[in-house]
Symmetry: C2
Subunit: 198 residues, 2 copies
Amino acid sequence: MAANQEIPARPRAYLAGPEVFLPNAKAVAARRKAVCAAHGLDGVFPLDAGLDLAGLAPAEAGQAIYRANRDLMDGCDLLIANLTPFRGPSADAGTVFELGYMRGLGRPVFGFSAQAVPFAERTRRLAGVAPDARVDAEGLEIEDFGLPDNLMIAGALADALDGMVVADEPAERRFADPAAFETCVAAAARWLADRRSG
Amino acid sequence: MAANQEIPARPRAYLAGPEVFLPNAKAVAARRKAVCAAHGLDGVFPLDAGLDLAGLAPAEAGQAIYRANRDLMDGCDLLIANLTPFRGPSADAGTVFELGYMRGLGRPVFGFSAQAVPFAERTRRLAGVAPDARVDAEGLEIEDFGLPDNLMIAGALADALDGMVVADEPAERRFADPAAFETCVAAAARWLADRRSG
């Protein structure tokens, strides 16, 4: 919800994350929405727009998906993001964009990761530098504030909860079925309930 | 500027990018601001807040930097981002968050990359799969719309200009001194001028 806006009886939660890239994304979406419903939230999945991309050139299709996701976010009261590292030391870039977008709209954002290795350690491993290195091989600083990802991501999450919900789960579950998702949904629902009664 | 807001005589441009991690970030910031000034823009660099982090625990310092950057963005009329791939197939996560945040505020965003390899090709190289692979080794889709980065990033940039300003520059210049920066600043300044006169 925007600042000072009332929390609706059944808040709409935009479910951001790289789950859209899973081969069984629609089945995963259905399971996530069931978890949301059990906690009084209405889960909205990026693929819900049900776009027909037939006949569009690739770049036009990409633009249509962007606009559809933006419209879905505009209609949501909060965001819950899977911020598990994706193809690099940070979360999926599209998900991070959406986190920023919803924060820019003034809506509360929540996020989880199913991988507990701290951001700085992941960055050093990828860069192939020593465990106490402060810069990479090119001399670029390795951000190390003991946070689970870049400080802009962690900072936005700390605007509502204490920060990211982090668990250490088997790699094969991190996008398909992370337990951290329900932990995060439950925490978001409690946060909204506290604000509604407060 | 927010939607329907007047464009000021000297628009303030938030200069997002991993340049903050360079050892000579302040000197780089000064050069970037001079380029902005030559095109009628007032460049604002993340480090401009001049925070005193002494005595803060690491996570508190990270949070303070997040808040300072957010405050700086709130006071800017547009964003110009260095979206050159950073430690992975996509742009720097903090920069992508800021791109989303400013778009959520309804302000125009502009971005450039000093590396011309398309996003899908970078992703396949990182994943170690064939040049025509549609999924990675885990079966997760490789996004391929012929765009320079994730479609949320490319989509947001196409809300103003046609998309990302992309050049192919020597690797050692991509953060320290990319020529694409001035190309992007000039294009942003023209876009603002067109809207002011239109």
